[in-house]
Symmetry: C2
C-alpha cells in the first residue's frame, strides 16, 4: 500500500485486527487526532494489506491533519457532529436558529459533516424551504467561513442566476461600467452544467486565476476585472454545496440566494445588479416567479445594507449567437468594437444602465443611454483592453486572433418558415458534446434565432469542435435533438420508412 492517495473524501484505512481491537466497524465515522488537531473520516477496514499498528490516510485527511509519515495518530468513534440535529430539524421543516445554521455551514466547511449530511441539508432546503431570517443567517455564516476583501472604496457587482447559454454580457457590462467610474471587481464561476461560464469565456482573452492579493491588485489597477472566484476563498463552502447539488440536479432557492450574496458580501459590495433570465427552458420560467425571486434579492440586500436592482431579462433562448468560450469571447469583443448582435447589445447596455443608475453615475432613466454611448465612443473597448492587460492578457487582441474549432458542421433548415424556438438545453448539450467548456474553441454559432424567417436549406446553426470525434458526437445529438424549430417543419414522419 502507498502512504497516501487522493480519494475525494477523508478516508483512513486500518487493518482488520486494529479495527476489531478498537471496537470499530467498516464505514464508521471516526475521529482521527494528531496533537491538538483532529478531523473526522470514513473508516475503511482492509484485510491483509496493512500491517497492524499502521494506517493509510487519504490525501484529503492528511491535509486536514498536516500529518507526516511516521507520526502517530489516535482514533476513536466519532459522535454525531453537532450540526446533525440541526439538519434533522430542517428535514422536519422547522425553522433553524442562526446558531444552528452557523454550525452546519462551519461543519461543512471543515469537513466535519460528510457529503450525505450536506445532501440532506440541501434536499431539506429544496423540499421544505427557508424563510428570510434563515437565508440571512446562512449568507452571514457562509461569508464568515471564508476570506473577505476590503477594497477601501465603494464596490458594485453584477450577477446572473444563470441557466441560459451564450450569456457573455458580463464581458460588456464590466468594461462599460468601469469606463464610467463604477468600481466592479467581478468574480465569476466556471461552467458547471453550461458550455461556458463567464470565467471560461474571459480566460480566452486573459488569465483569470488569481489569489486574493493578486485579485485585489488587478481589480484596483484597472478599476474592474473579470476573474474566476474559485481561488479566492470567498465563501468557499459554496463550492462544496455546488459539488453536491450538481449530481442531485437541485438548486434550492434559499441556497442560491445565500450563495450569490455571500460571495458578493465577501468583497464588500454597496450595490448589486441581478440578471434574472426568464422564459421557457431558463431557471425561472414565468414572470411571476421572476418577480418573487427579485423581491427576495432586494429584501436580502436590505438586510445587509446593499442596494439591489434586478433586471428580469428574456431567457427563452441563448443570448446573442455564440455559445462556447472562444466563440463567445469573439462575439463580446466584436460588440465592444461596435458590431455584435443587437440582442446582446440591448441586454448588456440595459443591465449596465441599472448599474450606472444604482451607483449614482447617472440619474434614473439615463443609465442605458450612457452605457450605449460608452460602447459607441469606444470607451468601453479601451477599458476592456486595460482590464485584459491588468489580468496579463494581450490588450491588442482582435476578434480574428481568437482561435475557434477547426472541425465544423452546419445544420440547415428542412423547410421554409419562421424560427419559433431555439431550445436552451439542447444547444447547451450540443456545445458540451462538441467539447466546451474545456476545449475553448468548441461550441455552437446560431445563424437563426426566434422570429427569423428562413428558407429551406438556410444554415440554422454551425457546430465547432477541436476534435473530429467530438464534432461527430455533437452533430449526432443535434440531428436527434432538433434544437431549432422552424414553423411549418415536419416534426415527425409517420411511418418513418416511407
Amino acid at each position: 500500500m502507498p502512504e497516501s492517495f487522493p480519494a475525494g473524501r477523508r478516508i483512513i484505512l486500518l487493518s482488520a485486527q486494529d479495527a476489531r481491537e478498537a471496537g470499530l466497524r467498516p464505514y464508521d465515522r471516526v475521529r482521527v487526532s494528531l496533537d491538538s488537531k483532529s478531523a473526522t473520516a470514513l473508516l475503511s477496514v482492509v484485510e491483509g494489506m496493512i500491517p497492524p499498528g499502521e494506517a493509510v490516510l487519504s490525501l484529503e485527511l492528511r491535509g486536514a491533519l498536516e500529518v507526516q509519515s511516521g507520526e502517530e495518530v489516535t482514533l476513536s468513534l466519532a459522535g454525531r457532529p453537532k450540526s446533525f440535529d440541526a439538519i434533522r430539524k430542517k428535514m422536519r421543516g422547522e425553522e433553524l436558529t442562526p446558531e444552528e445554521i452557523r454550525a452546519i455551514v462551519f461543519d461543512a466547511a471543515n469537513y466535519e459533516i460528510g457529503e450525505l449530511e450536506i445532501a440532506a441539508f440541501l434536499l431539506a432546503q429544496e423540499f421544505k424551504g427557508m424563510n428570510m431570517n434563515e437565508i440571512v443567517a446562512l449568507t452571514k455564516a457562509m461569508v464568515e467561513a471564508g476570506s473577505t476583501v476590503d477594497f477601501g472604496r465603494p464596490v458594485y457587482e453584477k450577477h446572473s442566476i444563470g441557466g441560459v447559454p451564450g450569456n457573455k454580457v458580463s464581458l460588456l457590462i464590466v468594461p462599460i461600467a468601469a469606463s464610467l467610474g463604477v468600481f466592479i471587481p467581478k468574480t465569476s464561476s466556471r461552467a458547471i452544467t453550461s458550455p461556458a461560464g463567464t470565467a471560461d469565456t474571459m480566460e480566452v482573452l486573459a488569465p483569470v486565476e488569481f489569489d486574493l492579493e493578486e485579485y485585489k491588485e488587478v481589480a484596483l489597477k484597472a478599476g474592474g476585472c473579470i476573474v474566476w472566484g474559485g481561488k479566492l476563498d470567498l465563501a468557499p463552502v459554496d463550492d462544496i454545496f455546488i459539488r453536491i447539488e450538481h449530481p442531485l440536479g437541485i438548486d434550492p432557492r434559499s441556497q442560491m440566494l445565500a450563495s450569490i450574496f455571500s460571495k458578493k458580501l465577501a468583497v464588500g459590495i454597496q450595490g448589486l445588479v441581478m440578471d434574472i433570465p426568464t422564459g421557457k427552458g431558463a431557471k425561472v420560467e414565468d414572470l411571476k416567479d421572476a418577480e418573487a425571486l427579485a423581491s427576495q434579492f432586494i429584501e436580502l440586500g436590505r438586510r445587509f445594507d446593499v442596494r439591489v436592482q434586478c433586471g428580469i431579462t428574456y431567457g427563452g433562448q441563448p443570448v446573442g449567437h455564440a455559445v462556447g468560450p472562444a466563440l463567445e469571447a469573439r462575439e463580446a469583443l466584436e460588440a465592444l468594437m461596435g458590431g455584435g448582435p443587437a440582442s446582446l447589445i440591448e441586454k448588456s447596455t440595459s443591465l449596465a444602465g441599472l448599474l450606472l443608475e444604482l451607483s449614482g453615475v447617472t440619474t434614473k432613466g439615463a443609465g442605458q443611454d450612457a452605457a450605449k454611448e460608452a460602447l459607441r465612443t469606444g470607451r468601453a473597448l479601451d477599458k476592456m483592453r486595460e482590464i485584459i492587460e491588468a489580468q496579463g492578457g494581450d490588450p491588442k487582441v482582435e476578434p480574428g486572433d481568437i482561435p475557434v474549432g477547426e472541425y465544423r458542421v452546419e445544420l440547415r433548415a428542412p423547410a421554409d418558415g419562421y424560427v419559433t424556438d431555439v431550445d436552451n438545453a439542447s444547444i447547451a448539450t450540443i456545445a458540451r458534446l462538441a467539447g466546451a467548456p474545456s476545449e475553448k474553441g468548441a461550441g455552437v454559432l446560431l445563424h437563426a434565432k426566434q422570429g427569423y424567417k428562413v428558407k429551406k436549406g438556410d444554415v440554422l446553426l454551425e457546430i465547432f469542435a477541436e476534435r473530429e470525434s467530438k464534432l461527430t458526437e455533437a452533430y449526432e445529438a443535434a440531428v436527434r435533438l432538433r434544437p431549432v424549430t422552424v414553423e411549418g417543419m415536419l416534426l415527425r414522419r409517420v411511418p418513418e420508412y416511407l
Copy 2:
C-alpha cells in the same frame, strides 16, 4: 502509487494530462469500460503521481470490471444514469412506475448511481412517501436484484421492526416454533444503532455467518436456524440503502416495508409474524400509528400471497432485563430452561403463538398455550440445542458458561419510590459505550423496571464491560443520562452548588 486500494466507492485515478486530453474534470462521473463490461466511477485527477497512459482503480471498481493489471480500459464522460430522472420525479412527489423503481434499485445495486443519488431517493421517500403500488414494485425489484432460496417446503418467519433494546425474543420464538414443526429459517441483522442485533446475540451461542448453500443446509437440518443475513445475498441492495439511511438518521416507512419484505420473500415465505414494539422511545410511539403500519404489512403480504400477522407489543422500555449480546444470550437460554423474566416469556410465547396459529399447527387462540407448553416441557430447549449444534456451536452450553464483562459497576436508587421510566435510548447508549455489540460481554443488566418499587440504595442497573476504560465511559454517561427514573426522585437541584 499502488495498483489498487479500497475506497468505499468506485474511483479511478488519472494523470492530469490524460484527464485534460480526454476533456474530463476532477469529480466527473466517468464510464470505465473493459471489453463488454463497464461501470461508472468517480474521476480523481492526480498531479504527478501517475504516469500518463496509466490509471489506478479502487478495489470496488476493479471488482466490477474484473480487470487485471496491464489490461487496457477506456474512459468516457458518463451520462446521467437512466434512473436519475425517476429519482427527480419522486423528489417532486410524483408516483413512480414499477419500471422506474426497478431502474433505481438495479442502478443502486450495480453502483450505477452513487451515494448522493441514493440519498436523494431515500430522502424523497422520507419527505414525499410512497403508495402501496410503489412499495410492491420496490419490494419486487429488491428481491430480483439478489439471490433467492427454494427450501422445497412451507417457510415461516418472524421479524421485529426493531428499536427496543434487549429484544432477544427470536432466541425463544425460533426454537419454540421449530420444536412444534414450523419451518423457520430465520435470517437476522447485526446491530446498526442498537447494542445487539439478533445475529450478534445468537453468535454468542453459535456461528452465524454462512453462505447461501450452508444456510440452506443448516436450516433444513434443524428445521430452523438463526443466522446473519449479511452473507446470503438476499435483497443485498438493502445493505446499501441502510448504509446511507444510518448517517442521515432516517428510516422511511416505505423503504422499511420493502426492505423487510424483500428479504423474507427471497427465502420463499408463506407466512410472517411481525413484531411492532410500540411506546415512548420506540420506533412507533402510539397505537394508532402501530395499527396503520400493521395494515400496511398485511396489505403488502396480500399482494405477494403471504399471510401476515402483526403483534403490537409494548416497546416503552427494554425487553427483559439484559441488554448486550452475551447478557441477552444468557437470559434467553435461562428462559428456555424454565427461568428468565416473565415479560420476556410472555412476549416470546405470544408472538410464537401467532406463528403456530398462522402455520396451522394450532387452532386460533391456542397458539400461546402451545408455545408455553413447549417451553415448560423442554422441547424448545432441546430444539435450541439442536439448532446451536447445526450451526456449529456447543449444544451443551449452560448460561453460566457464557462469559460476560469482568468490569462492572452498579447504579443505585437515589430515593425510595416506584420506577416510572426506563429510557430505551439511554440504555442503548450506555450499553454501546460499554462496548456492545462488538465486545460481546459488554452491556447493561436492569435490576428494576417500570412499576418496580425500590428503596434508596437499591441497585437499579449494572453495567458490564470488557475493558475498564469503556466501563468508565459508560458509567459517566449513565450518571449524566439517568436512564431509570424513580418517582419522588429529585430531578434537579437548584441552584446546583448548594
